[in-house]
């Protein structure tokens, strides 16, 4: 709208024009119609009038004819001619003209123009004349010609008048309607329109309702326009506010978009990029081009189809975002892993977020490799081995699984340090590799445990020979470069073999079988190689049951203690009693300590058993003391209990609880304790001895029996192993050993206790060797606590009866 409404296009001019046109059309049609009707009626009227005119003269004319009176006929004719519409009259009697009259042409009122029309348009009226005295008798006729011009003029005149009248009426009505329209409709609308045109709605201006139109449609229109303007202004305000907020939001998100470290892009299905941020260009190494639209496939993806497929899946799937990692070739040939998350936007395009996950991927890869690899030796680990043989099929060829365990490796580690142990392991691994053929597998499955899988090997004899060679090779000394180890290290190995598919259908069963075989080899004392046999399985099951029973026993305090008196050989009196664990098994009878103690050590029950044993022993000792038996109690302590399971403080606490002096307790340890962490063992022993508890070294003479122990550890007593005492009387070597031990003990200020004294001759020899104490069946079997007193009485009785050759005590 350019503002001004030109008057010709205005509603006023249009209405006026429309009214005039309609009026003209209606007027023309109406005038024509009315004119036709009026003309027709005027013609009819003229003829009727002529007929009526004839009626008036008919009688006279018939008389004139009757008497054939020309004069009368002429009078009649001329009389008729006085009527202006009549042009000619002829009265006939039979064929003869009686009379006639005609208007002179010049006298016609419509002369000239009427001639032609009159000639063409002659209207005549004929009337038959009857005798005045006989209505049935025709005697002549009268012929009347009308003057058409006159009639036409009259008709025209009539028609014109009527038309003029009609036109005038129409003009009046239209004028009145126009005036009403102008005053009641057009003027208020024009005024409203002009006002509306200049209206400043935003400035709060509103239209005024034209006077007198409060309740009309115009008034309502103005009211509605005002309301609409109000709403429009309000909506525009909201719109403006919304736009400004959107603009702020947009700027905010634009900043995020531009400066995000993640790549962000919006792309359509086939990879053309609608928009992307600088980070994406950087991450995807997109070329810096301005002219052409970028495409996702411009980047050097390793598998661009996969990316497009994922976009397609995200668009078709409709289940939110999906993501995946993609490998990209960087600018400098470096590989780069990008994690791309695709989310459909709902308009057929997707939004993608891209982050660089190269670092994480590398770590994952290395972690995955680590998971199946032993870092130290570079061999596979247990997982790797399992994975290698994860899906064995029956038709796979046979292979042998060899488990190799280094004997005493822990001691080497403890004594010489981890670097030495590690180097040793590497050396072992290197030698194991020498025994690999193609397809074979090698793994380090434990700290000092290796596994070899010899593929295609099924023959036991060949295997045995091969294992033999392997054992020999492994047994050769290892030159260790680390630290200050000068001498080459030698280490023994135990090996367990299991055969696929003979000994197990899958790698787990096979491993278990090989482990059982290895265990059996280890139990046999190490440096051995065992094939798996079904019996091993049974033994393992038995052991397993025993373990369960042992647990139940410990939990139910089913442990029993027996006591074997220790006799002072010089005085013959009982000095103390060794507490021996006894397990009265409901099915197997009494289970020997050398069976269940290692078992308890293995399954970690030894701590609990040891504490219970110590507590029980002390309780009995306290009872004996209360009953007047002033003897000490000697309790075995396993190497596993030292130092944490049986801390000196705990020992003293037990003593205190039972009201025993420290001197009433002797703790027996084995060489194993001393071979462990020397400093810890020293501290433990020293701490107890300071408190007054004595410590005894059990089974002296077996194992390493290093004399340096005796020097390094502050001991009180050594116990001479019963294997030396047994053949004391028949084996001179044993006798010499015992003599040496006793002499050495004496010179070191230690007491010596001979175990396993079974007869008087042994006792005699021991006395000869001046051994201080003895225990064994010769004095008493281990007895229940309640029977100890009786046993002691018996010993004392026997001692007083028997001759005491020497009594230096």
């Amino acid at each position: 709208m350019d503002g001004k409404v030109r008057w010709r296009q205005g509603i006023l001019a249009r209405s006026l024009l429309a009214a005039v046109v309609v009026a003209l059309l209606v007027g023309a049609v109406a005038t024509h119609g009315v004119g036709s009707i009026v003309g027709a009626r005027a013609h009819a009227l003229a003829l009727t009038r002529l007929g009526e005119l004839l009626d008036t003269v008919e009688r006279t004319a018939s008389i004139a004819c009757f008497v054939e009176d020309e004069q009368l006929g002429k009078e009649v004719a001329e009389g008729l001619l006085r009527n202006s519409e009549v042009r000619r009259v002829t009265i006939r009697v039979g064929d003869r003209e009686l009379a006639g009259a005609e208007r002179a042409a010049g006298k016609s009122r419509a002369a000239g123009e009427g001639d032609l029309a009159g000639a063409a348009n002659v209207r005549t009226v004929d009337r038959v004349l009857h005798s005045p005295f006989d209505a049935a008798l025709a005697i002549g006729s009268i012929h009347l010609e009308a003057d058409a011009a006159v009639i036409d003029a009259w008709v025209r005149n009539n028609t014109r008048n009527v038309s003029l009248l009609l036109a005038g009426q129409i003009a009046l009505v239209v004028g009145a309607a126009l005036a009403a329209l102008f005053f009641f409709v057009l003027r208020p609308i024009k005024a409203t329109s002009d006002r509306l045109h200049r209206l400043d709605a935003a400035g709060g201006e509103r239209l005024a309702i034209p006077r007198g139109h409060r309740n009309t449609e115009v008034g309502r229109l103005v009211g509605d326009i005002n309301q609409l303007a109000g709403r429009l202004v309000a909506t525009l305000e909201q719109e403006r506010a919304l736009r400004s907020r959107q603009e702020i939001d947009r700027r905010k998100y634009q900043d995020l978009f531009d400066h995000a470290s993640s790549g962000i892009f919006v792309a359509e299905r086939f990879g053309s990029i609608d928009s992307c941020n600088p980070a994406f260009i950087e991450l995807a190494c997109l070329p810096d081009q301005v002219g052409r639209a970028r495409r996702l496939t411009d980047a050097h993806w390793q598998d661009p189809g996969k990316l497009l497929a994922m976009i397609g899946a995200a668009l078709d799937g409709g289940q939110g975002a999906c993501d995946d990692d993609f490998l990209l070739q960087g600018r400098r040939g470096d590989e780069r892993w990008l994690r791309v998350t695709i989310a459909p936007l709902g308009d057929g395009s997707v939004q993608g977020t891209v982050t660089d996950v190269t670092q994480r991927k590398r770590e994952e890869l290395s972690a995955r490799r680590l998971a199946v690899t032993d870092a130290l030796t570079g061999l596979a680990n247990r997982t790797g081995l399992h994975r290698r043989f994860a899906d064995l099929r029956p038709d796979d060829g046979p292979f042998a699984l060899v488990l190799i365990d280094l004997d005493g490796f822990r001691q080497i580690n403890d004594a010489l340090g981890f670097p030495v142990g590690d180097e040793l392991l590497a050396g072992v691994a290197a030698r194991l590799r020498e025994f690999l053929a193609s397809g074979d597998e090698i793994a380090r499955i434990g700290s000092d445990e290796f596994a070899l899988a010899w593929v295609g090997e099924g023959d036991r004899q060949a295997l045995a020979a091969r294992v033999e060679r392997l054992a020999a090779r492994l047994a050769q000394p290892y030159a260790i470069a680390a630290r200050d180890v000068r001498t080459p290290l030698a280490v023994g190995v135990s090996m367990g073999l299991a055969l696929y598919p003979h000994d197990g259908g899958d790698i787990q069963q096979l491993m278990r079988a090989a482990e059982l075989a290895l265990h059996s080899a280890r139990s046999a004392g190490g440096c051995a190689c065992k094939f798996y046999e079904p019996g091993l399985q049974a033994a393992a099951v038995h052991k397993r049951r025993l373990e369960d029973d042992l647990r139940a026993m410990v939990a139910g305090r089913g442990l029993d203690l027996a006591f074997q008196p220790i006799v002072n050989l010089r005085s013959g009196r009982v000095a103390g009693a060794e507490a021996l664990l006894r397990w009265p098994h409901p099915a197997h009878g009494f289970v020997a300590p050398d069976v269940f103690v290692p078992l308890a050590e293995e399954i970690g029950l030894i701590g609990a058993i040891g504490r219970v044993a110590l507590d029980d022993a002390c309780r009995h000792a306290a009872q004996w003391r209360r009953g007047g038996l002033d003897i000490y109690v000697s309790v075995n302590v396993s190497a596993r209990q030292i130092p944490a399971d049986l801390a000196p403080a705990a020992v003293l606490d037990i003593l205190r609880r039972h009201g025993l002096p420290p001197a009433a307790l002797v703790l027996e340890i084995t060489e194993g304790v001393l071979m462990g962490n020397v400093a810890v063992a020293q501290a433990w022993i020293a701490s107890l001895r300071t408190a007054g508890v004595r410590v005894c070294l059990d089974d002296f003479g077996t194992g390493y029996s290093s004399l340096s122990y005796l020097k390094r550890f502050p001991l009180d007593t050594v116990k001479i192993d019963k294997s030396f005492v047994r053949d004391l009387c028949i084996d001179a070597g044993d006798r010499a050993l015992v003599a040496a031990i006793v002499a050495m003990a004496r010179s070191l200020g230690l007491n010596a206790v001979a175990e396993g004294v079974e007869d008087a001759r042994q006792l005699e020899v021991l006395r000869d060797l001046d051994c201080g104490f003895g225990q064994g069946y010769h004095f008493s079997r281990p007895v229940a606590a309640a029977e100890l007193a009786a046993a002691i009485l018996r010993i004392h009785g026997a001692a007083s009866a028997a001759p005491v050759t020497e009594n230096r005590a």
Binding site: F66, V67, D69, E70, Q71, L72, E75, P132, F133
Partner: protein
């Protein structure tokens, strides 16, 4: 004219009885006229033509306007009243081409005139027609 009205009423009342008194048209016996038709009588009396076939000019006589015979004559001839006949003649009289029949005051005079000249015609009651005249038309037929 109250008297005329009374006369009229009288004639209307008595006419059927009087009609039986026959009227006849008489002519001179030597006129050569034997019989006249009704049309000929009408034509002669109402002035259409008066020249007879014989070349004789017919001269009709009429009773006075108030004569009872005149009424009967025109009524039975053309079924018109004397007033109507008068009106008829009034139209014709100015042209002068024909004249109404001559009015003769008495029957006797009429008969004399008929007897006096051929061509004269008169109508009288049958009973009044004597030897001097010849009946040429019976009006009552």
């Amino acid at each position: 004219m109250p008297a005329a009205h009374l006369v009229l009423l009288f004639w209307i009342a008595v006419a059927p009885a009087l009609a039986r008194a026959d009227l006849v048209l008489v002519a001179h016996p030597g006129s050569g006229i034997e019989r006249l038709t009704r049309d000929e009588v009408i034509n002669i009396y109402l002035g259409r033509y008066r020249l007879l076939d014989s070349g004789l000019n017919a001269e009709p006589l009429d009773h006075p306007a108030d004569a009872e015979a005149r009424y009967r004559f025109y009524r039975s001839l053309v079924n018109k009243s004397p007033a109507e006949i008068n009106a008829y003649w009034a139209r014709l009289i100015f042209s002068g081409k024909t004249r109404p029949p001559r009015v003769v005051g008495s029957v006797e005079r009429m008969l004399e005139l008929v007897a006096a000249s051929p061509g004269v015609l008169a109508y009288v009651d049958r009973s009044q027609a004597d030897a001097r005249v010849k009946i040429v038309f019976d009006v009552s037929d």
